[in-house]
Amino acid sequence: MSPARTRLVAGAAALMAGTLLLAGCSGTSDASSASKDSINYALPANFTPNWILPIGTAAHLNTNNKSIADSLWEPLVAYDGSTGKIAWNKAGSVATAADFAADGKSVRITLGDRHWSDGKPITSRDVQFWFDLIKANKAQWAGYNPGKAPDNWTSFKTEDARHFTITFDRSYNPQWMLANELNQITPLPQHVWDKGGDAKQVWTFLNDAAKNIAGYEKNALWQTISGPYAVKSFSTAGKVVLTANKKYDGGEKPAIPTVNLLPFTTADAEKNALRSGSVDYGYIEATDLDQKDSFTAQGYTVKPWSGWAITYMPYNFNNPAMGAVFKQLYARQAVQRSIDQTTLAKVVFNGTAVPGYGPIPQGQASDFLSSVQKSDPYPFSTSAARQLLTDHGWTEQGGVMTCTSPGSGASQCGEGVAGGTKFAMQVLSQSGSTVTDNMMSAIQSSLAKTGIKFAIKTAPVNSVLSQTPQCTSGQSICTWQLSFFGTAGSWYFNAFPTGDSLFQTKGGSNFGNYSNPEVDKLISASTTSSSNEAIQGYSAALAKDLPVIWLPEPVYQVSVVRNGLGGFSQDSLANFHPAQWKWTS
């Protein structure tokens, strides 16, 4: 047989094999892992657990590693969404009370009558051990932002074994302090982990030990725990098996003795595992939501998991070509009014997203949301968007709006916008996501109707992050104009959604160099004022000022949960809490 014919036959064989595979995949399976004694939980695709220590660098302390660590070492203040709303979950916390001084400059914490798994009591010394480690190694700590904890904690005073006081550098909003700073503290077993030497040496010792994943199961360091679960096995390939901690004396006693956390290389692999019945708590993509019935028929319930997050596309205000245009509020309004978020959320996201009009997540009701943001200050209207541009000296030429009236007058293009400038911008967007591709295509199309050219360039998400850094207009890297990290790259907040790193001048994640002194004041006030008025003011200001292009907020994941698994709420802060899972039937 000639090589070409061999190819044809091979091609035909591959086609037939593919067809058979598809046919095979479309069938249902009776396989089931449901058991009263165990649960199989699917970790996010392409994620492998690789850290056990509740302290560490940002590279290690991602949401899922932290969820595992929190199951082993219970946090001091569990401020999360595990109870159905974002609040302090005292049942899952070591502390039982946090009494703030009247001036807001200190807090007195009371610990519960709790014990480590080796029988020793959990004391203020265990909290101070964490405090000293973080103070001495703040630059390496994942939770560090200059000026915030531990910089703003000036002292730690032990009153007795179950009471201590932390003093701040000034008065703070108690809710913010509790939700965003004190919630990061985890009492650590000082009597086991403090091997001598100074705090830096102990930090190095613990982090080095934590790098040995193969040792998690046997290393004595990790056997003294305070949380509801212990490690039974921790594979370097990613599978983690947790077993109930029989000595646990906290408020969230585990109902399922064995928890299997399963890794998957792709979302498709996880979906196939769901179809085969080998996963009890998994997920599908939003585009798969129209297959809901097939999962329901297999004994699952599809439950979207709403996230405490916002999704947006930052403008690069320092871009040499388009920065001056982006700095014009009317131009940003024209862009925002060209985007039909309601239809995007309904069609592209299959109804699993909600429109977002500002810096406060809108997937859940909250006291932080202003009426301005809630009411959508710039509703979708192509004609209004065109009007905004034509009223400011832009004329459509060859399908693209062009500045024909440069200058800083009320009816001119604005300061820095040269005559002849075309409203043409490019986004660098995450590749590999059908939902993102579809959303970008839809935005491109609707912007074109306004006369705004919107070119799309895609790259893997890590590449997008590295190519769209904070920059100054003279730097060669500053050629990016818009950046989108993908629907999986939404910004997840701490419980109190301040925008200090996102929208404050020179904030750590203020990629586009947005700067507005009024907003800076509001951000600062939101962390210090004990009233919600400040953060609502911040919400209204940014909803009106459009520092970024606001986009629909997708759910964290579309969960597929086996019927009979209940007793829990999906934490909108994107953590999972195995101790709350239980088989109800």
């Binding site: 579809n438 109707k449 790259a459």
Partner: protein
């Protein structure tokens, strides 16, 4: 034409090269190469399929006009109907129009990249084979090294970095696909360069360049043409691979691989019109080019006659 006449043509073709004759009867015969090619029914079918797809992709949009630039979120995922013959996709594009639009890119990039790879490979192989010695050794070691790195890997890395458009894809594909043709042409050149007519040209003062251009390459044409068809088929597949992995041409452009990739999310939703048409188009065109290459190889193969 009757079956008997067909038989006579086949018979005439068999002897045509050996004893070419003048006269009206012989002038009506097809050229021997075409006749030999026509004997391979699969190859003829391949030509027809390619011709049909070229017509479909380049003339089709004139007869079946659709908007492939703007999305229409009110018309998403509609099944085939009188309005949309092949339904619509997830952002409301007419799928039949999209198939034509995507096919243009797939065919253009495939054809151009295949030809570019063949040109580069032919020149490289001819020079290496003709020069011989250390020049040949160095040039072929470059080829060996290139073949050792999977083309798809290089393509994915470059695509991830540059996000190429159609022209970029043509250049990248051409630059990663020329290695096999260069080996084939080099082998052919090694046998041709010692033929009497080449040696005579050199003895009479002809240059090396003239020897390559006037004798080596024309006499390697069968190898080159066959290699070219396979290169085109491979290039179309490579474009599909890259687009399938989300690194192909960017919206609003698309190609069949990108359409297939977008459609596969609907595999369990019963929206076959998003998967079957682009998948079938890729299979048919790639098989067609392979069949054409097979037919050409048979037609050029003197020993086969």
């Amino acid at each position: 034409m009757s079956a008997a006449q067909g038989g006579r043509f086949r018979s005439a073709g068999r002897w045509g090269l050996v004893a070419p004759r003048g006269g009206a009867a012989n002038r009506r015969r097809p050229a021997p190469l075409i006749a030999r090619f026509a004997r391979n029914k699969l190859a003829v079918a391949g030509v027809l399929v390619v011709a049909l797809f070229l017509f479909f992709c380049f003339v089709g949009p004139l007869l079946y006009s659709t908007d492939q630039t703007h999305t229409d979120l009110t018309q998403v995922n509609l099944p085939p109907s009188g309005t949309h013959w092949l339904g619509t996709d997830a952002v409301g594009h007419d799928e039949l129009g999209r198939l034509m639009y995507g096919g243009k890119i797939s065919l253009l990039v495939g054809l151009a990249a295949g030809l570019l790879a063949t040109v580069i490979g032919t020149l490289w192989g001819a020079v290496a084979g003709y020069a011989g010695g250390w020049v040949d050794a160095v040039m072929m070691r470059v080829v060996d090294a290139g073949i050792a790195i999977p083309a798809l890997f290089i393509l994915l890395v470059v695509s991830a970095i540059t996000s190429p458009g159609p022209l970029g894809l043509i250049v990248i594909l051409g630059l990663v696909s020329w290695l096999v043709p260069s080996r084939l042409v080099r082998a052919e050149t090694l046998t041709l360069k010692n033929r009497d007519y080449v040696l005579t040209l050199r003895a009479t003062g002809g240059t090396h360049g003239r020897a390559i251009v006037r004798h080596i390459l024309p006499n390697s044409v069968s190898t080159i043409v066959v290699a070219a068809t396979f290169q085109v088929a491979d290039a179309i597949l490579l474009v599909a691979y890259v687009s399938y992995l989300g690194l192909g041409v960017q919206p609003p452009s698309t190609d069949w691989g990108g359409m297939l990739s977008a459609g596969l999310t609907a595999a369990y939703s019963g929206r076959w019109w998003l998967i079957v048409p682009p998948g079938l188009a890729i299979i048919l065109v790639v098989c067609a080019f392979n069949a054409i290459g097979d037919g050409l190889r048979d037609a050029f193969d003197v020993r086969g006659r």
